[in-house]
């Protein structure tokens, strides 16, 4: 499903965030990306989300080579995946409900479907009662869960999440992870950058460890370290 070949990422200021990354991720896998702060996890996630192209190498997702996408094909690609951003990226002047609904409007969903699916997604992250609040009126963890709800609402076949539990307490984190696991079992591939040792160790899924932009470990039923 995902094929990464000799990918390098050097930021405009000269920082080499990724160094010759090679990866294969199959349909329906659940992959943790771990590593110290600044190791390059977010950079990898952002490459998959097409925030920018790699400086070198090839990335193939869902059969499409990302570096070869034409400009007008990019939105369609982004809509086919669900992304949880490390810095949330919620629309400030829209309420929680509208933020999640927007992801569905963008794919041209029918209003009826929107009215059904959005509450479901909010329910899944435990925020149905705050649907009418603005992002600034939410706690850090609540904002993060809105972002997660937005990522799952379209039932994408690939979810990439950047520390989706960074601002959550262990109990809420576990609930979220259980939900992702359920989605994964129903056929969605999940890639998740995380620092949460407990979660990684509890799930016994594939773990890819980064250090200074290189893959230093890739285990099928791995532990945090």
């Amino acid at each position: 499903m995902i094929e990464i070949r000799h990918v390098n990422m050097v930021y405009p200021n000269g920082v080499r965030a990724l160094n010759d990354i090679n990866l294969n991720i199959d349909r329906n896998e659940f992959v943790f990306v771990v590593g110290a702060s600044g190791a390059g996890k977010s950079t990898l996630i952002r490459l998959l989300g097409l925030e920018f192209p790699p400086t070198a190498g090839k990335i193939k997702v869902l059969g499409k080579e990302l570096t070869r996408l034409r400009r007008r094909e990019i939105p369609a690609y982004r809509r086919s995946i669900g992304v949880v951003f490390q810095d949330f990226r919620l629309l400030e002047n829209r309420c929680v409900y509208d933020n999640v609904a927007f992801a569905m409007q963008v794919v041209g969903a029918r209003p009826r479907d929107i009215r059904r699916r959005v509450p479901e997604a909010l329910e899944a992250v435990g925020l149905l009662d705050k649907a009418r609040m603005k992002p600034q009126e939410l706690s850090g963890g609540e904002q993060q869960r809105v972002c997660l709800a937005r990522a799952i609402v379209n039932n994408p076949s690939l979810i990439i999440a950047d520390e989706p539990t960074g601002n959550l307490d262990p109990k809420t984190s576990m609930e979220i992870i259980e939900h992702l696991k359920a989605i994964n079992i129903r056929g969605t591939t999940v890639i998740m950058a995380t620092h949460d040792r407990e979660i990684v160790n509890a799930l016994k899924k594939r773990v890819i460890a980064l250090e200074n932009g290189r893959i230093i470990r890739d285990e099928q039923r791995g532990e945090y370290s």
Partner: protein, 295 residues
Amino acid sequence: MLIRNILHYIKEAFLSIGRNGWMSFASVSVVAVSLFILGTFYLVNLNAEHITAELESQVEIIAEVAEDLTAEEIEQLRVTVIQLPEVEEVRFVSKSEALQRLKERMGEEWVEGYEDEERNPLPHSFEIRTIVPQDVPVVAGKLEKIPGIADVEYGAGVVEKLFRVGSVVRWIGLTFMVGLAVTAMFLIANTIKLTVNARSKEIMIMKWVGATEWFIRWPFVIEGIILGLIGALIPSLLLYYLYGEAVNWSQTNINFLPLLPSYLVIGELIKLLLLLGTIIGALGSALSVRRFLKV
């Protein structure tokens, strides 16, 4: 699906105007102020041209006929003159008519003793109007060369000055209009850029979530059109009212300087302003959004 989208765009545009109330206000006010200034200039310029034209059109040439011509020769002369391509109208003023006028202007005692046809020192003359006032000097030159015409007068200095002032007024007015239009565009583009700038985060988030460029752009464009239209409507109504007042005022207070009547100019002006407002709004936001869509 298409209709759903259009409804979505329009709804989004109105919601956005409400959400960004303060910025919407700023944009509308810049458009309104710019178009108001522009509209005022348009009216001032139109009237300045009108008045100049009015004054210019009153300029005529007086050609004195040589003393010794017969009535027939004079008639021939009249035909020659009227056949000049620049000439619109020729009026014959006989010696006695001229004397009559002089009498009216200067009083009885002046013409006393001259009233007899024989003793009248005034010549016959033609009053000539050209089609275009600017041709007056040209026609005068041609007339002077026609045998049988003794003297040509058209208050040379005054006419030429008038024409020069007229063209200066027109030239200044046009420069100012164009300059104002350009600066208005510039101000408005700046303001819209600033407002869009302040919402760059919003636009970028939309992109990350997978919205197509037009899905993002349409609400902004529609928003721009709405704001532009409101921004054009305000000066339109204001100018409609104010110009009406100005015309009334001028009629009672300076009736020798006739302003163009309201119905002749206001319709055109409002059409122009609304069109400009729409274009400015649509183009302004479309162009400003583009910058962030590239990401």
